[in-house]
Symmetry: C3
Subunit: 472 residues, 3 copies
């Protein structure tokens, strides 16, 4: 296993084996913390935080200091020239000259990947908008492992703001990777984004079932499950049943309830105006039979969604989660800087799906307005690039923010070799689109854009016929 | 003497002997500063500052670096998630996991005590609103000691904003503890709060005399004394005289004039609107006979209240005071982290008064609106708690901010054992209140509140008779 | 060579030999960076930044950490008590007690000199308003030297905002000192201030020629030169020609094009309102024959004035310049703290001009409203002081901000020894002013001021005769 000089942008950047090796080193860091002082003498970490933070920044900095390294920091974006319209690419190149490792928090989704593309030192994503927060996920996984032994076969319920809570986004894939069953219990209106569920099913296999709003679980009225995911790793009968039976899934009870704060700072104006309800996790809820053994986890800070009456409860893990942030990050920093090495255990292989890539000078753009690809200062330093994760319906996934985008119109580079008359575009859901090879595909968000680039409406634009259904 | 793992919230947390031992170590830190590097290798200090500061934060951080330790810092509360409505209790538990010692500055009075209640590492109060700032007091005392030898028997005049200047509040008790005479010279309208004078007399003994506004001292018109305090330690005739004669008290002249800046940021709107005058300390004032030998001290920053024409004057100590902040804090940190030990000299015992405690779910609240007990985010993490410092008149002292509160109505838990009819409340200054034992006392701020909790007006509410005078 | 304990306020504070010795040490720092860890163990640097910055602050801090030292920092002036109206002088005395070296950035021109006047530890100017930024100049010079070998005889073009770009102000004198030819290519309206050109010619010798607006250089329309400066060091025929022939000066091409960002934050309201044009440096401009070999330099951050299409160009040096900020500053810090010594090579002596000094309690003030001498908080801690750099026309240079000031009226201390009637002031450009010795000179900005101080209008005020022309 060699994490030396590697970036950590999403939790997918680490294999299961690498995560387990990291946790072995975390144990060592935790057990003999004073002995680690000096491992990173002379090394410098830059913590560049463009969003308010305390926990994450302080725990990274504490970790580096415990290793004997130094820290340079930008914690108030207003007091930095980075606010003067400088690009992330320039910032990456500059800070690479000052530090041996960069920890970035940024409100734009995909910003950490862009930083890593230009930096010459490793970049750790400490949260990029609502996208991912992989080191928080490492703390979460480490806590589950320390408290329960093995993640495989566990049932984990995710609670609260599953739309903007980036920590849950990283966690979902990590749990799937390790073979856990996931119950989605969002605050109404803050459900998990579709692109995440899509990626979950297509890349991790397993089965997802949506129960619709307010699906209540047996006796306890307050505990509602909106959807459930069963991994193919699931050892018992569940995996063989048609559809998911919640009662069966929860027979052994929930192993952990992962609570998140409503991320009000990311709400749209509509969401701010709407009277969204945030059910509270408290002793009463936790007295339900299916939650009897459930660890209560929270990435913190909490506001009201997690009652203080849980603080003394032995199931409450949230302060331990936070405390483990230091040894987990010590291990990560030491490995990334090459100050430590550990032997990786045999991999639990999760096959990576190799999707074809879509990258053109013009055409379709990422559908996520918070994506880094939309930012004026960055336009010269990146080109929109997508994985073609599905052809029917045609679905792209932005390589920066990982949001899904469904282009409406397509054309082919083969159609019009020299023949202007043959430059035609058609609806993406027409049967003609099926015939286009990935490498020849040209995709557009709108008819106007296709025509601007010299394409004329083909038969399947004019006739408005939709021939391919999404489920085909 | 063992300061290891102890909090420092108010100057009362240290005995005279401990302070003297700390100063012995301060001498060593000061004389051989480079030799201290390494004492705190691998240790981490968190400086959490919720109010603008430079001097205090930088000198703590410099002290820690000189000892070879590391620092993590929150200096701009707006750039931290602590501003998102997180409680001090949560913050305490989290930061305890990241650092070995916490230095807190906070605008709420009592915030440092609350932090210490929940932190698992030692907490140093670096200023909590207008309450205390004990490390500044240590720098002040150390300077007095270095320049004058012994604090006992000294006459110290406190000048300026004695209402909001928290540095003087810590200093008053320290001076009393060491046996100094204190002259109060407030800017008119910014007199020392009553709760401080009350604590001074009841706990430190000695005698306090108020002279009323604008009491001028002999020749020098500009030097006015509003009140004076003579400790029981006073060795000469003063202590035996009836009343305090200022001329006698100042016969040997003033040893130090402690100047403070008007703390405009804490002024009420009325105080801001009022045309408050801030007499200036300058060469002219200092030419007065009684100030001839007086050291000029100031916790800094100064604005206009201390004239620059004093900068070159040999009596001026304010830059030395600031400079001594580093070795004083080095000594404190090293002792608190257990990196150093010193033998404590024989104690000059100041007997602690053990007051009965008042703590109930409902009833009287602290009268100080800036107290941490009033803060919405903290309500779950603390219960109002008071020392009953006087029964007649009934006076409580908040254990967080130390402000005095005089409840208006009282009841007893003994009065109504099972008999609803006997649940009666009476005026706190009625003779019935005298009969209630501390452990049975229930106190209310208002009749409405008493009735809300099921109490009915007793005889001494209806008749409006006031039977016990405050001086009884 | 001994830089120990010396301030670095302007680039003039270092001789050529000292700069070269510093660069020798920079090479060592750069080649064996890890070996430097420990050189400054136990030392503390204070970075006090009153303007947004990232690059400069982070590179100073990284340099100190690489040497094993510690850093205390104020990066957000709003979160410091320095914002409460405290003087720079007080700040200097305080921070001197906390740190072994102070790095200051401040918006007021001359602030670093004032800080150095009161600090007891060395002060490094990290940018004082539009005045100077000497460590950036060291990075620039080091880059020129590493890439081209010898600065002597080079032709350097300065591009963009030459009015407010303090980095170019420091650089101009450095280039002159090392014997380079300078081409001035300002954005129209942002020409180099006259006081800088005046100092250049009077103190460094050589020849300056202004070509007027938009002087185009041969074929390339976009490359315009506004003025040129040839040093007396120039070895070839140029130095002997009457006037400067641009074609000859640029025969060998430009060695470096130094680009600066429009410093919009310093623009006057008129400049903000004006539609100022900022010609862009891009591949097209750089394809001009005379720029074929030119290094492209920029102090960063850039916005639009330097096109991203240059990033991959081998001539582009700006990221290297920034990267070299760390070893250059390591060398500077190590020398200033006495942690390293280097032998200085034989000096290339640039004779310092010893101007007479003008310093009076009243009279003329610096003409630069951004000068530190105008600031209310500083008035007690400094007296306006000027070098008399020219008698005809009478020209003063502020010792703080180095701006030029031309007093309108003069008097002499000799004229009125006891004779009130002889206390007369006259126009500064009258022939009487020629007769006043520097040590007797009294200068006024206005007739009102002269009369306020008891002077009466002399003959050459009433008659309005101007007898001495500026060119005499």
């Amino acid at each position: 296993m060699d994490l030396k000089n590697r970036d950590l942008i999403t939790i997918d950047d680490l294999t299961n084996g690498e995560i387990e090796a990291l946790f072995t080193l975390t144990d060592e860091m935790s057990d003999k913390m004073p002995a680690q002082y000096g491992l990173c003498h002379g090394k410098v970490m830059a913590t560049i935080f463009f969003e308010p933070s305390t926990r994450t920044r302080l725990s990274f900095e504490s970790a580096m200091l415990r290793l004997g390294g130094g820290v340079i920091s930008v914690s108030d974006p207003k007091s930095t020239s980075f606010s003067k319209g400088e690009s992330i690419a320039d910032m990456a190149r500059i800070v690479s000259a000052y530090a041996d490792i960069i920890v970035l928090r940024h409100p734009w989704e995909g910003a950490a990947k862009l930083m890593a593309d230009y930096a010459t030192v490793p970049v750790i994503n400490a949260g990029d908008g609502g996208h991912q927060h992989p080191t928080q996920t490492l703390c979460d996984l480490y806590t589950l492992k320390k408290e329960r032994g093995d993640i495989k076969g566990m049932t984990i319920a995710l609670w609260g703001d599953l739309k903007y809570g980036r920590t849950t986004h990283s966690l979902i894939f990590a749990l799937a990777k390790f073979g856990a069953t996931i119950l989605f219990c969002p605050s109404p209106g803050l459900e998990v984004p579709e692109n995440i569920l899509h990626k979950l099913v297509t890349e991790y296999g397993g089965e997802l079932e949506k129960f619709g709003k307010n699906h209540k679980v047996n006796q306890t009225g307050a505990f509602t499950v909106d959807a459930a995911y069963i991994t193919p790793e699931q050892p018992h009968q569940l995996a063989m049943m048609p559809g998911i039976d919640l009662e069966v899934a929860m027979k052994a009870g929930v192993d952990a309830l992962y609570v998140t704060r409503p991320q009000r700072e990311r709400f749209t104006n509509e969401e701010k105006a709407a009277d969204l309800q945030f059910p509270i996790v408290d002793k009463k809820l936790m007295s339900g039979k299916e939650l009897q053994r459930a660890l209560v986890m929270h990435p913190l800070p909490r506001v009201d969604e997690l009652a203080y009456d849980m603080d003394a409860d032995p199931r409450s893990m949230y302060f331990k989660q936070a405390a483990r942030g230091v040894p987990v990050r010590m291990a990560l920093i030491a490995l990334t800087l090459g100050a430590k090495e550990v032997a990786a255990p045999v991999e639990t292989v999760v096959p990576k799906v190799d999707y074809p890539i879509y990258k053109r000078e013009y055409g379709v753009k990422c559908s996520n307005p918070r994506c880094v690809t939309w930012q004026e200062t960055e336009k010269n330093y990146l080109k929109p690039e997508f994985k073609i994760v599905s052809l029917h319906p045609l679905t792209f996934r932005c390589i920066y923010c990982e949001h899904g985008t469904e282009p409406k119109f397509v054309a082919s580079t083969e159609w019009h070799q020299g023949l202007t008359e043959s430059k035609r575009y058609n609806r993406a859901n027409s049967h003609l689109s099926k015939k286009i090879k990935s490498e020849n595909l040209i995709a557009f968000d709108s008819a106007e854009e296709a025509e601007k680039h010299g394409y004329k409406a083909g038969h399947y634009v004019k006739s408005q016929v939709v021939e391919v259904s999404p489920n085909e």
